[in-house]
Amino acid sequence: MADLTLIASTPATGTLPVTRGTMTLSQADPGPLTSIAPYKGQAGAVSDALQAATGLALPGVGTCATGKGAIQWFGRDLWLLSDMAAPDLPGAALTDQTDAWVTLDLTGPQGAEVMARRVPMDLRLAAFPEGATARTEMHGMMVSVTRTGPDALRIMAFRSMAKTLAHAMIEAMENVAAL
């Protein structure tokens, strides 16, 4: 039995924040993350239970909802609760994802232009308004993109790929800044 303290480290993105032109990339801490996968026919009940416990219902496909914490659609029959501990939800598979993701915030007026160089999706404000979220692909990485504000996008990728994600983003920011 030891007198032992484990020190937490953040995903290894390299040095952040970084600013290129009008855009800034920083590492965010979205707090505890829990995936919620309701079992067959349980989505409604799970949504109700979640709402009762947290005030947040399961949002529709491609959207997210925020309150005390936040919940976003995350895939087929799958949602991701962030910034709060998950309540007990008997009708769903809950999985702790807190350490599984690296979360980066891209802020500035040219977010759509930067992301156009990285993901095959239309992320302009009109097509991807505040509250929109999507799963997509970036340089071989499965990512999640959420619009958190008119000039703010949040990008998540696997924690082990933090460095590649940051590199890809900064390169795109540099190329947009150079135009």
Binding site: V61, G62, G75, R76, L78, P120, M121, A134, R135, T136, E137, M142, V143
Partner: protein, 80 residues
């Protein structure tokens, strides 16, 4: 090429993986039906039913694609 995921909407090919011909898995011991399922494939000029996965949302899809025109007439969840 673009496919319309029933969840995510129309997306670029790079988000998908081809999963082979959409065949029904036989039951029971090995026999001609299994041989056909594992080994034999049509090479249709025209309608082709295929499994694809939308990797980013994990949904397996059934895609109805015309091999001559590349027109995708239908995409549904695999077991919709």
């Amino acid at each position: 090429m673009r496919l319309t995921c029933p969840h995510c909407g129309t997306r670029d090919l790079r988000e998908f993986t081809y999963g082979g011909a959409a065949l029904e898995r036989p039951t029971g011991d090995w026999g001609p039906a299994w041989d056909a399922y594992v080994h034999l494939r049509e090479n249709p000029a025209g309608a082709s039913f295929e499994w694809w996965q939308h990797d980013v949302c994990a949904t397996w899809l059934k895609v109805d694609r015309d091999t001559r025109t590349h027109v995708i007439s239908q995409v549904t969840e695999a077991r919709a």
